[in-house]
Symmetry: C2
Subunit: 269 residues, 2 copies
């Protein structure tokens, strides 16, 4: 792993930046190249077949751009349906966000009941259920598809009355329905931490809200650990690419990383 | 035009079916092939360059599928930015929805002030302003971008409290802001007629709400008129294609056209 040059990271849009932020914290001094596939966002309302095709295309763009030492699929939908295809296609380690998110959920629950908020494609794949049951068969999993959270996050409507009303609609099963006994809510889409505040307020203080970002970063750091330690004080080097103009990605990248991000380049897919 | 076999119609998703419905009424007995580019929906938040590329790809799929006598771009975003490119690429007449929508708005206003509700890409193109001013330079045009209306329409949340709140937010300039003197509202995106009821309720009864669907169909019928008359009692023949699985398209197509629509085929792009 010491020849690892860049860590490639991709998502359908702005959401994966929440994972990149944790990766940069966990792996200071590393070089990152991030792709937001904004020409084809969202992924989560599309079929598995289409998402596999898009994920392979995104990985190809990153591999053409830089010598990759690892690829992080910072998108739950792509992690749920395209991880095997990506591992077959690439010669480097490929990390997804489902298993770390599932592990965070299993670690957090005391009553053995968790809710997973995710895109329709991720919920349909049952990927969280399988990953959670691989860790602990006794945990009950309630999947809730929240398709409008991605356009809300991309539009920047993340903490207002519309976001609140949409959250109340989707999260009703947790607040006062079939999932009301859960004590842990997994944000199973990397866009959803951008709506973190409104989601926490809706499900109430008594419930823990976890996401896969920091757990994924810890997994990747463990795998690439030897390289990291020697550069612990170095500055991150982050290149951000998009497949279409995307104000949201530029703004969020600057907010998260400041000057560490150079000019955001547009690439063709 | 008498050799015209099929009329090709395309949109990014379900919205163009509102135009197809009017075309079927205006041109009974005609053969239609419709493409919903659901693998890449939405178009309206993407750049002009990307939308041109997608529109050319959609036209190619339709031309490969059937002998086209005409192409109707049943998507305002693509009509706003890709019409010239499509006309250069195709040997058949290409109809857009902007000019008919603009004409409907100019015909409807008594005070010479209209609002155009459309996607960010259509508003940025100023295509409605140009089309309206080509008809009447004195009409004042207020453009309002409503990016969340497309995901709401695709999700089927078209007449509920979320749709109402989103409409109130976007339409505030009309209800009580800089555009409050308009008497006419143009639905400048073919998805928006699906939210017709909530939009009408929000802007109030005193204002007329028009869209381009029936005006576009009348333009196309006029151009292909001779063929039509002789088949006035024939049944429509409608083939619907999608680039990805899309429940919304299937449901809306059956609701609009019943048995006239065969199996909905998925095509690759």
């Amino acid at each position: 792993m010491t020849t690892a040059d860049h860590i490639g990271v991709f998502d359908s849009g702005v959401g994966g930046l929440t994972v990149l932020r944790e990766l940069v914290r966990a792996l200071p001094g590393k070089r990152f190249v991030y792709l937001g596939d904004t020409a084809r966002v969202p992924y989560g309302t599309k079929s598995a077949e289409t998402v596999v095709k898009y994920a392979l295309g995104a990985a190809r763009v990153l591999a053409d751009r830089a010598q990759l030492g690892a690829l992080v699929v910072a998108c739950n939908t792509a992690s749920a349906v395209a991880l095997d295809a990506l591992r077959s296609a690439l010669a480097v380690p490929v990390f997804g966000v489902i298993e770390p998110g599932a592990a965070a959920g299993v670690a957090a629950t005391r009553v053995g009941r968790v809710a997973v908020l995710a895109t329709p494609a991720t919920i349909a794949s049952r990927a969280y259920e399988h990953a959670i049951h691989a860790l602990d068969r006794r945990v009950r999993v309630f999947g809730i598809a929240c398709p409008l959270f991605v356009p809300l996050a991309e539009a920047g409507w993340v903490d207002d009355d519309v976001a609140r009303l949409v959250a109340e609609r989707y999260l009703h099963p947790i607040v006062n329905g079939t999932a009301r006994d859960v004590d842990t809510v997994i944000l199973g889409c990397t866009h959803y931490p951008l709506l973190d505040r409104v989601i926490r307020r809706t499900v109430g203080r008594g419930r823990r809200v976890v996401d896969s970002a920091s757990a994924t970063a810890a997994d990747v750091a463990l795998a690439l650990g030897a390289v990291t330690a020697s550069r612990a004080r170095a500055r991150a080097h982050i290149e951000v690419l998009v497949t279409d103009r995307a104000m949201g990605v530029a703004e969020t990248a600057r907010r998260f990383f400041g000057d560490s991000v150079g000019r955001i380049a547009r690439v063709d897919l």
